[in-house]
């Protein structure tokens, strides 16, 4: 009996689960990461403090601990009866946003100082400087680390599978209960993950080539 062909529907469900969790938490992490990176360089001190705190705490906490909080503390104490997918998205998204904020901040650091000075000299405000001058130039330096962060995110979603969110890792339990060969199950699951990570890798290589400018 073939594990993949016998359980195509289950594998498809798991694959789509991993894919949707990765996609939604990637969007959340990108948006939050950009906002937090903005906070960390902003002129308003409380926002700077908040940004620093967010990054320090989330970067130094294991993702598994965040999942423990999300799946055991939040439903019991804060929001009873919340969807497990939303919890998984929040845990993955918040965790990755701290790393993305750091990547964006170091991207901002690669933009020559004269650019921001020139923007200020012609009277741009902070938001204008960031939006029109600094961030578009920082993008080029941010793309390579972003690709490895998103690949790491894809791999981290497996932890959600261990916490009963339906994804590629999660279906392993059902299949091994059905008595299939464990090694073959893991081979197919691994291939599923490899498809997603290599797709992200290719996509970002494309993006990198597009953004490349001869200087």
């Amino acid at each position: 009996m073939n594990v993949l062909l016998d359980n195509l529907a289950l594998f498809r469900e798991g694959f789509l689960g991993t894919l949707s969790l990765t996609a939604v938490s990637a969007v959340l992490a990108l948006v939050l990461g950009l906002v937090i990176a903005g906070f960390r360089v902003s002129p308003v001190p409380p926002l700077r403090i908040f940004g620093t705190l967010w990054v320090t705490v989330l970067r130094n906490t294991p993702l598994t601990l965040l999942f423990l909080v999300a799946f055991f503390v939040v439903p019991k104490v804060l929001f009873p009866g919340i969807n497990s997918f939303v919890l998984a998205v929040c845990a993955c998204g918040f965790y990755t946003s701290a790393f993305i904020a750091e990547a964006i901040r170091s991207g901002i650091n690669t933009v020559p100082m004269g650019q921001a000075e020139a923007a200020r000299a012609i009277g741009m405000s902070f938001t204008q400087t960031m939006r029109i001058v600094v961030l578009p130039q920082a993008t080029r330096a941010v793309v390579p680390p972003l690709s490895s962060l998103l690949i790491a995110l894809t791999k981290n979603t497996a932890i959600a599978g261990a916490f009963d969110n339906v994804d590629l890792f999660n279906i392993q339990k059902t299949l091994s209960n059905d008595g299939y060969d464990i090694a073959m199950i893991f081979v197919w699951i691994t291939i599923g993950y490899l498809i997603i990570t290599y797709a992200i890798n290719g996509l970002f290589r494309l993006l990198e080539n597009r953004l490349e400018v001869a200087r």
Binding site: P43, T64, L65, L78, A158
Partner: protein
């Protein structure tokens, strides 16, 4: 670019606006904190008795044991992964094509498989029976070894070419060039990255929770779920305590990385050629 380049020194208008933003931002944050606080106190999570569980010797010993087993796995996995990384890096830079290809495939494969899957597959017994501790150590070693090998390779490639050429010109063999010229400089250049990857290794030991290895997180869940005080489970308290332990450990390692980086920068600037000695007067006999 430091943050201060991005905006002008605030004028009177901007200062007022910044104050307004600060107040509104702080109020929003306070409102969120207050809401969480109210929810928690509704559930009776602020009962002082809930913190009392950390006064029991049994709980404290439990936490200490868990901390020690986390550190044990971290120490083993850290050392093994660095040794493995050196081997992989040497193979990756080998002159023999087959060896190089095996290393490339191995590194690429295990870097793209989720670590949890590697650990779990080792544990459920693809390679025969393995205790959860060794499954965790081996999984962490393989994954972090691959990542550290790539870091080392980047370090070796960053050493100026002339260094190796000069060493070959002096008649050193390839082993000698790699061991005494390239690697020391590579390790030194990459030490901050190597240590931040060690922080990742430390954080990933928490995956032992999934394979029932009794490390910190496992003990956190055990304490949180098994010691109800007046019918309330001290989940928030245990998360705060264990989160603080993890953050302290990681920050200590990160501080070490920063210190080494600063020290490396200083040494490069500080080394100056020795001054010429004043000529020795030769007294004629």
């Amino acid at each position: 670019m430091s943050a201060s380049v991005l905006f002008d020194a605030p004028g009177p208008k901007a200062r007022v606006r910044n104050v307004i933003y600060s107040v509104v931002g702080s109020l929003a944050l306070l409102a969120l904190v207050a809401w969480v606080f109210l929810r928690l106190s509704d559930k009776g999570q602020f009962d002082g008795a809930l913190w009392d569980i950390f006064n029991y010797a049994g709980i404290r010993e439990n936490i200490l044991d868990a901390l020690l087993s986390t550190l044990k796995v971290f120490a083993l996995a850290g050392v093994f992964s660095l040794v493995f990384a050196v081997l992989l890096c040497v193979a990756r830079l080998s002159d023999h094509k087959p060896v190089r290809w095996v290393a490339v495939v191995f590194i690429d494969l295990f870097r793209s498989i989720p670590l949890l899957i590697t650990i779990f597959a080792l544990w459920v017994g693809i390679l025969g029976h393995m205790t959860s501790m060794w499954a965790l150590v081996l999984g962490l070693t393989i994954y972090n070894g691959c990542v550290q090998a790539e870091i080392l390779r980047a370090g070796v490639n960053s050493v100026p070419k002339g260094q190796a050429e000069a060493a070959y010109a002096l008649g050193l063999r390839k082993t000698q060039v790699t061991a005494s010229i390239l690697f020391p400089q590579a390790v030194r250049a990459m030490l901050p990255s190597i240590i931040s990857q060690l922080v990742v290794t430390l954080k990933d030991t928490s995956l032992g929770f999934m394979i029932l290895y009794p490390e910190l997180l496992y003990s956190a869940r055990l304490i949180g779920n098994n010691t109800p005080v007046n019918g309330v489970y001290p989940l928030v308290q245990t998360v705060i305590v264990f989160g603080a332990i993890y953050i302290a450990l990681c920050l200590a390692l990160a501080a070490l990385a920063n210190w080494i980086e600063r020290r490396g920068r200083r040494a490069k600037v500080g080394i100056q050629p020795a001054k010429a000695e004043p000529p020795v007067e030769v007294t004629k006999v």
